[in-house]
């Protein structure tokens, strides 16, 4: 705080007198105005959040009346026949997210370990800044790259190659189209990676140096230090990073719509096209017939909302129960 800010409040000769009393009265008025404003800001925000929940809920009620609660798990999405069901879309959403996380988490963790524990400072500094900046790349740009650059590469090289690998190839069998669940997962992995790296690196950085030194003094190798001292202490931060990435992957719509092929059917393998909740909303919205059609698309949004909120709440609960308790005991032992 600058000194003149203080002297402005309690200047000499300002304490007594009508003018100061008036000023105080005015400032009391100002104070009330400030308080009211603050309440208004908080109230407005609360109203917006409530409005969101109520709005999405009420607009999807028509669809639920039409299709019943079976909307959530029924597999058929066929607007022409008046059949609306989110089941396959939910499966594909979970599948793309799971595959994306399988790809992304080990790479993200390895990168974070390298940046925080192994790399020399001259390398880790610029590299961390670079990855942090890339977290700002808009998802539409990642989607464009996936669509125009990766799709042909996947159709001609990656997918035929994966299908030819023994045993694992079973996961990738069938014709290689390019747009597929696998490609969508790769795009999601690229999109969520920078945030994962930045947050995990921050979590590793928060582990006290003394923990590492103690492990080293006991004869641990560098990797053992990371595994036995750094990982347990950073567990909460890393799980938070993964939860965030899962939430973002579940909810991503545009980039996925560009590369998944948009075919709401049960996936036969990872190289077949699919459709997620988000990509279906993007594709169906414009062509949805007013009334039940629009309401059903909004209901897809409601299902997606429930899914992401559940994942977030689950992640938070996981943090509080497991990792939180462990961090607590570790703190007590320290």
């Amino acid at each position: 705080m600058s000194p003149d800010a203080v002297s402005g409040l309690v200047g000499p000769g300002r304490v007594i007198g009508v003018r100061s009393a008036l000023r105080r009265r005015r400032s009391r008025l100002g104070d009330q105005a400030y308080s009211a404003l603050r309440w208004a800001g908080a109230g407005l925000f609360g109203a917006v959040v409530l409005g969101l929940l109520v709005g999405v809920g009420s607009d999807s009620s028509a669809a639920l009346q039409h299709s019943g609660i079976g909307f959530v798990w029924s597999g058929t999405w066929n607007p022409a026949a008046g059949q609306y069901g989110a089941g396959i879309l939910v499966v594909d959403t979970l599948l793309t997210t799971a595959v994306a996380m399988v790809l992304m988490v080990p790479i993200g963790l390895g990168t974070a370990v390298f940046l925080s524990e192994l790399a020399p400072r001259w390398l880790s500094g610029p590299l961390s800044t670079l990855i942090g900046l890339l977290a700002a790349v808009p998802s539409i740009v990642v989607g464009l790259w996936g669509l125009l650059v990766l799709t042909p590469i996947f159709a001609n090289q990656v997918e035929p190659f994966l299908a030819s690998v023994p045993v694992v190839g079973w996961l990738f069998r069938g014709e290689a189209y390019g747009p597929s669940i696998l490609l969508a997962s790769v795009v999601l992995a690229v999109m969520t990676l920078p945030t994962m790296v930045s947050l995990s690196r921050t979590a590793f950085g928060g582990v006290p140096l003394a923990d590492r030194e103690a492990a080293l003094a006991l004869g641990a190798t560098r990797w053992q230090v990371v595994r036995r001292a750094v990982f347990p202490a950073a567990r909460a931060g890393v799980s938070a990073a993964v939860t965030l990435a899962v939430g973002r992957a579940l909810g991503e719509s545009i980039a996925v719509a560009m590369v998944i092929g948009n075919r709401p059917a049960i996936p036969e393998s990872l190289t077949t096209p699919g459709a997620t909740l988000g990509s279906a909303i993007v594709n169906q919205f414009a062509e949805a017939s007013p009334g039940i059609g629009t309401s059903s698309v909004i209901a897809l949004g409601a299902v997606l909302l429930l899914l992401t909120v559940a994942v977030n709440a689950g992640g938070q609960a996981l943090l509080r129960s497991g990792a939180g308790a462990r961090a607590h005991t570790a703190g007590a032992l320290r």
């Binding site: 959040v49 900046l133 740009v141 560098r222 053992q224 909810g251």
Partner: protein, 287 residues
């Protein structure tokens, strides 16, 4: 320990320790190698992504491209001026909506503790996790459907909703870096809360506030999904133009998409770099 052991036992322990160390070192080296592989696997696609955007976008980019209005498909000479001004308008209006509300809500959180503040903080966290497409649907339901028309206002409303929770949490964090004693000192001097908020909290946290808000703006500026439901034409925003032209099957549209992506990427990265510079200047001044 070795004193208690017979010489033969001692030898045994020593070889065991040596063997264990060798094994641990091998495992360590392998894992470190895997970490380097992970770094390459992480950086390569990200760099490739930026590389493709720059090389494919730059060939189309020109002053005329930026300043001319779009032309119908297959008619050359079109630009993206409407998309640039459209994005600027939408994001600008969203900023005007979001910053005052988020600042006041953050002050509320900063000065109050209790169930209401906790509930507000919780709803900010929930809203941060809500997919942007759902916010688009919401804006469509409350502003587009009742008024029977797509509008910039609805788009700005959606982006403001995206920015709000991020800004509120970042603002509160920034305010918390101002020591509570300073706030208490201000109150103890007899200053009104509003005055302390203005002269102590906001002024002290200003650089951090700027950083947090810039990052929130950068994120909202790159959003596409909310605009899909609120704007009448893809020509009214850069992200939408990238989507429609990128998914179009003819090369000229794809070239436009790449060039627009380059403009958008530069804009967003510029905001992000600016945010970092502000943060970096504070940390340097603090030392």
């Amino acid at each position: 320990m070795s004193v208690l052991l017979a010489p033969s036992r001692r030898e045994l322990v020593r070889t065991a320790a040596r063997r264990s160390l060798r094994r641990r070192r091998i495992v360590g080296t392998v894992v470190q190698g895997l970490c380097v592989v992970a770094v390459v696997a992480a950086v390569a696609p990200l760099v490739a992504l930026v590389y493709y955007t720059v090389t494919r976008g730059a060939s189309t980019l020109s002053w005329a491209f930026l300043s001319h209005a779009p032309t119908p498909p297959f008619i050359p000479g079109g630009g993206i001026s409407t998309a640039i001004t459209g994005t600027a308008e939408i994001v600008g209006l969203a900023i005007v909506l979001a910053i005052p509300i988020s600042l006041l809500a953050a002050l509320f959180l900063f000065e109050r503790s209790g169930k209401l503040a906790a509930a507000l903080r919780f709803s900010a966290d929930v809203l941060t996790g809500v997919p942007s497409i759902i916010i688009g649907i919401f804006a469509y339901a409350v502003l587009v459907l009742p008024l029977h028309q797509f509008s910039t206002l609805a788009a700005s409303f959606a982006l403001a909703m995206l920015m709000l929770p991020i800004m509120i949490r970042a603002d509160e964090e920034a305010m918390r870096t101002i020591a509570l004693d300073l706030w208490e000192a201000g109150i103890a001097l007899g200053a009104r809360r509003g005055r302390v908020a203005r002269s102590v909290v906001l002024r002290g946290a200003l650089p951090d506030l700027v950083t947090g808000n810039l990052l929130a703006i950068a994120r909202a500026a790159g959003e596409t999904a909310p605009l899909l439901f609120t704007l009448a034409t893809p020509l009214a925003a850069m992200t939408l133009l990238i989507y429609t032209d990128g998914t179009a099957a003819f090369p000229s549209a794809q070239r436009t998409a790449w060039a627009t992506a380059l403009v958008l990427l530069s804009f967003v990265l510029l905001l992000s770099v600016a945010a970092r510079l502000v943060a970096w200047r504070i940390s340097r001044r603090a030392h």
